[in-house]
């Protein structure tokens, strides 16, 4: 008897505007027999959907589901553990402010210093390469 290898992965899914109203997660359950646990869900002002899930099921189902998701145009990234800011390097320009899908960077209207709210951060890592002086780092 072979035992199917099971996996549990935390992933960040980004849905382009055209997919926001499509029943995609439903198919993960129905067609791929995956269990999911929603860690965070939001629709950004640019009408992109953002979903952080823990997906679990057989390794094969998981891989097939990933293929299905990327095939329909959902961007999928593993949820990394921690994103932090190198305070020495940050110049407080603000380039990150509109890149972050959950508004974790906020410009102080008075001082124009950019505050990083780590508790809001979902570790999607979009800011890492968008930061011109590469002050944002991932701690794995």
């Amino acid at each position: 008897m072979t035992v199917a290898k099971t996996v549990a992965r935390k992933v960040v899914l980004r849905f382009p505007h055209r997919l926001v109203d499509k029943p995609i997660i439903y198919r993960l359950v129905k067609d791929y027999d995956l269990q999911f646990n929603i860690l965070k869900a939001s629709v950004t002002p640019e009408e992109e959907g953002l979903l952080i899930l823990e997906l679990s099921g057989s390794k094969k189902s998981y891989d097939d589901a990933v293929r299905y998701l990327t095939g329909v145009g959902v961007e999928l990234q593993p949820l990394v553990k921690d994103v932090f800011r190198n305070e020495e390097r940050c110049t407080h320009c603000g380039a990150c402010v509109t890149i972050c899908p959950v508004d974790a960077f906020v410009v102080n209207p008075k001082t124009r210093v950019v505050d990083f709210h780590e508790t809001k951060c979902i570790a999607c890592a979009l800011c890492i390469n968008a930061c011109p002086v590469r002050a944002m780092e991932v701690r794995l």
Binding site: T91, H92, C93, A95, T98, V113, A130, P132, R134
Partner: protein, 404 residues
């Protein structure tokens, strides 16, 4: 009321000069009126801290034993190529230079983690840098290869020489297309997902002296954390740009070429920078003092973000195709509010230039002047103004004749 630069310098020497930043002067003029404020204030300090691609540095490496002629050969600093088309051991390193083996945009968008700007930052930080020279060898310069560590102290001259910095005004970049754009104005999200701008507005040097009445060739400035000078007008200097009633350019406008001894600068104010999918560059800190010689000059220096207007340009189609189309105009006050309205859509804004660090530059320069460490200079020649008739020219391509 008029003052001379010599009179202001006398007050600086006695520690009596009244110096305020370009931000502080706004409130002062509101409270006291222009006439009274102009009498009181001697110097207004400005600042800007943003990515400036036409930056670089030249170096004299010193002569090796036996000698080598890098001129006409190849030189690398931490694998980043420098320009060698000058004498034996003089080289020029540009901020946007990339290692030969950098993948660039072969896997789009490229990361551009390390380029000329990063080498300049490391040198200014005092780090050793790996120098490789490949040369052809001559009777007087027989050596063909050198690999060694060098640093700023071991060089004879190390001079920051930026041929275009401190753009008077700049585009607000947006993306009307349906895919993400990776530009020198940062990552632009599709369908007007964001709007990026890049000047320090009311603190920016040339917004405070819009007709270049005090800033000229030889003006002593804050450059990269040390002292530098305005060397010339910068490339693409465009005094003929469209202006507001008060003379503030509504398009690119003037630029500065600046120069200074790299050995007294600091990595806090010269930062290697990477634009995803675009390239490497250098973020440069510049602060220019404006002597308040008259009420008119103070009035210019009291300009506010509400009075400064920038054009919104589409980087999906208009910019790359050099189409003159402007989607609209917005003020810096609107840009700093966090969102602007374009085509009836509220678009979030972000800056590539650090306003808080621009404040720090203007404040630092103010401190230097108040302590008498920094004297103002009389420009030796003016920058070309509106009367010069200079207007930026596009390239006119002409087909090469077929070879017979």
């Amino acid at each position: 009321m008029t003052k001379s630069i010599a009179e202001i310098n006398e007050k600086i020497a006695k520690g009596q000069a009244v110096v305020v930043t370009a931000e502080e002067v706004i409130d002062l003029v509101r409270k006291k009126g222009t006439a009274k404020a102009a009498k009181e204030v001697d110097v207004v300090t400005t600042g800007t801290f943003g990515p400036m691609c036409s930056s670089g540095a030249y170096f004299n490496l010193g002569h090796s034993q036996p000698r080598i002629k890098a001129g006409g050969g190849q030189v690398y600093l931490n694998d980043v190529p420098a320009y060698t088309g000058i004498a034996a051991v003089d080289i020029f390193l540009g901020a946007t230079a990339l290692p030969d083996d950098d993948p660039r945009n072969r896997s789009h968008p490229g990361e551009f983690k390390y380029g000329g700007g990063h080498v300049i930052e490391e040198l200014v930080a005092g780090n050793d840098v790996r120098l490789v020279v490949n040369a052809h060898g001559t009777d007087c310069y027989p050596r063909r290869k050198i690999e060694t560590w060098i640093n700023l102290q071991s060089m004879n001259e190390a001079v920051l020489f930026n041929i275009r910095n401190a753009y008077q005004n700049y585009n607000v970049a947006v993306n009307l297309g349906d895919r993400t754009l990776y530009t020198y104005m940062g990552v632009l999200k599709p369908r007007l997902g964001n709007a990026n701008y890049s000047t320090s507005g009311q603190l920016s040097p040339l917004f405070n002296d819009p007709y270049y009445k005090t800033i000229g060739v030889g003006t002593r400035i804050f450059l990269g954390g040390g002292v530098g000078y305005v060397a010339w007008h910068g490339t693409q200097h465009n005094p003929g740009a469209l202006r507001t009633d008060k003379g503030v350019p509504r398009r690119g406008g003037g630029t500065l070429a600046v120069i200074g001894d790299l050995k007294q600068m600091s990595p806090r104010w010269l930062v290697g920078t990477s634009f995803l999918g675009y390239g490497a560059t250098l973020t440069v800190g510049i602060g220019v003092p404006i002597p308040i010689l008259s009420e008119e000059i103070l009035e210019y220096a009291a300009v506010t973000d509400e009075e400064i207007i920038a054009p919104v340009i589409d980087y999906f189609e208009a910019y790359p195709q050099r189409s003159p189309e402007v989607l609209g105009e917005v003020t810096y006050a609107q840009l700093k509010s966090g969102s602007i309205k374009i085509k009836r859509k509220q678009v979030p804004t972000a800056s590539l230039s650090s306003y808080s660090r621009a404040v720090e530059i203007a404040t630092t320069l103010k401190g230097w002047i108040k302590k008498g460490e920094f004297r103002l200079t009389e420009p030796v020649a003016p920058l070309p103004g509106v009367e010069s008739g200079i207007i930026i020219k596009p390239m006119q391509e002409r087909p090469l004749e077929k070879e017979g």
